[in-house]
């Protein structure tokens, strides 16, 4: 079958790969309906997560139809239309039972790599390097889904494929950020990054009762999407002094909750961006934390900063003094999507969460390299490039 693959740093290919088979009794084989590029894929493409091999199938955000079920699968049948969370989690270990699903003890077949890098291994993730399990990704006509009773969710009638697709990763990741940051009614919430995850974090913060939600980016079309489809306020960091604006918008206090939805390749204005670029390219730091630093400085005393964008290794010039002296709560997580997807699908069915606008460019698998190029370079206002394997 045809698949979109990682061929090397900044090199995406389309090539023939074998079809997946059921390996465990709790597996399903999914006929992929839609599969979408994610900002975190760009860290793989850029070589910032050095655990990809040429030929690895990309993609971790997807939906489709159940094509085959393992003998211990009880919740799904052939023909079911499902969306699948991007993390593989067993549902039986202590972490899963605490609903900290991305921290699953059993979902990563290669735990030694991340144990060495981070002290403990987290769960696995489709198409996201051998450090997170070495699973084939979803940019293909078929894919294997382990722990299917835990990770696949029936899509309600009336929710389109294009909407349900983002219940796989963007929406539950946003939900994870706002919920785990414990947004409260009346809070002022600032979100760095107006991509799919940032938009969904903003939407969840609004649903949790935040008084003001402000999303920060530099791309007009993304900020326009935030205002039009999410209903949050926006700041263009190329036009304004973000911390100063946030102070003004929060009565001089600073936001109660700051959610960083950018990650290790943050862009910014000013000399610190050049500084971070140079250090990253020289491998003197692995991640650029520009937006995270700003979130820490902007946050009110005693507030919460949530690192929702993907970081992989080490950062430099981390403002620990601000964290300690302002008594900040600093948290982070990959998505605990199993916990949030049922709620998200329900809200989608009632038109309270809309995501179709994120799919700005829909194309075939043959256009994989073009899709990633457009997504990376924001060509033609690309917010997300979506692949439809059946075309």
């Amino acid at each position: 079958m045809k698949a979109v693959t990682w061929r090397g740093v900044n090199e995406v290919g389309v090539e023939d790969v074998p079809e997946p088979t059921i390996l465990n009794d709790h597996d399903i084989i999914l006929e992929v309906g839609l599969s979408v590029t994610c900002g975190s894929d760009l860290h793989l493409l850029g070589g910032y997560i050095p655990a990809m091999r040429a030929g690895d199938v990309l993609g971790h955000e997807f939906m489709g139809t159940v094509a085959e079920v393992g003998k211990n699968v009880t919740k799904h049948r052939v023909g079911d239309r499902v969306v699948v969370v991007s993390f593989t989690s067993c549902g039986q270990c202590w972490y899963c039972k605490q609903e900290l699903w991305s921290l699953c003890d059993n979902g990563n077949p290669n735990p030694g790599i991340t144990e060495a890098l981070w002290g403990q291994a987290i769960g696995g993730c489709y198409g996201y390097s051998h450090a997170l399990g070495g699973y084939a990704g979803s940019h293909a006509p078929y894919m294997r889904v382990p722990y299917a009773d835990q990770g696949a969710f029936a899509i309600p009638d009336g929710v389109s494929d294009e909407r349900a697709l983002f219940a796989s990763d963007a929406a539950p990741t946003g939900w994870t950020g706002a919920h785990q940051a414990e947004v409260k009614a009346g809070d002022v919430v600032a979100v760095w990054g107006a991509g799919g995850v940032g938009q969904m974090a903003a939407r969840k913060a609004m649903l949790m009762g935040a008084e003001r939600v402000v999303v920060i980016d530099r791309f007009d079309n993304r900020l326009q999407q935030v205002r039009q489809h999410i209903g949050a306020e926006t700041l263009d960091y190329e036009e304004v002094d973000v911390p100063a604006e946030l102070r003004e918008m929060s009565g001089g206090r600073g936001p109660d909750v700051c959610i960083e939805a950018v990650g290790m390749e943050a862009h910014s204005n000013g000399p610190q961006y050049l500084y971070d670029q140079v250090k990253q390219q020289l491998r003197l730091q692995s991640d650029r934390p520009t937006a995270l630093r700003e979130a820490i400085y902007a946050c009110r005393k005693g507030g919460t900063v949530f690192a929702l964008g993907v970081f992989g290794g080490l950062v430099d010039k981390f403002p620990m003094g601000a964290v300690m002296n302002k008594a900040l709560t600093l948290r982070g997580a990959q998505q605990h999507g199993h916990r949030y997807i049922p709620e998200i699908l329900d809200l989608m069915s009632r038109d309270e969460v809309k995501t179709e606008h994120l799919a700005t460019h829909v194309m075939s698998l043959d256009d994989g390299p073009k899709g990633y190029r457009m997504f990376k370079d924001k060509e033609d206002g690309c917010v997300r490039a979506v692949f439809r394997p059946g075309t």
Binding site: A3, T5, R7, G8, G13, D16, V17, P18, E19, P20, T21, L23, N24, D25, H26, P50, A51, M52, R53, A54, G55, D56, V57, N72, C90, Q92, C93, W94, D105, N106, G107, P109, N110, P111, G112, I113, E115, A116, L117, W118, G119, Q120, A121, H130, A131, G133, G134, Y135, A136, A140, M143, R144, P146, L282, R283, L284, Q285, S286, G313, L314
Partner: protein, 162 residues
Amino acid sequence: MTSALGSVASLAARAGGTVVRQVRSVLEHGNGPGAASAPASGWLVVSIYREPTEIDATSLPAPLAAYGDRIETRIRPAPGGKGSELAARLIQRDSGSAPGPARLTGSDPQGDLRSALRKAKQLIEVGEVLAVDPTPHGKRNATPAGAALEAATKRAPKGGVL
């Protein structure tokens, strides 16, 4: 340094990175937060989300049972409602075990036991051991980085800090 860690470190070290050299140094000397050194006692431990009464010490899952009397095991409650702590150690261990040389020769008893413990945990909690191979993939290039990553992946079930 475990070969898994060393390989990952080597991948990034291609770029001549100080970050990686720092990580490598930690791993090689086994004295940092990411070090994969074994405890002096030799005990390797996993927490299993089951009550101790649900784990039969006389009938442990096959990966541990296969060791027979070459290992000793212990089971005790994990505090805070976290289930049970299942520990195992080899009866005969190298004194002052330096894992690096043994792994270079392909012999890694400590890593094998670590892998067996992980499999036992999965069998008790989930009922089966998660597989990943064969996984669909395209053409593999024969590159040093690819070979290093493949070696790291092979070692990954045995490596780590467990």
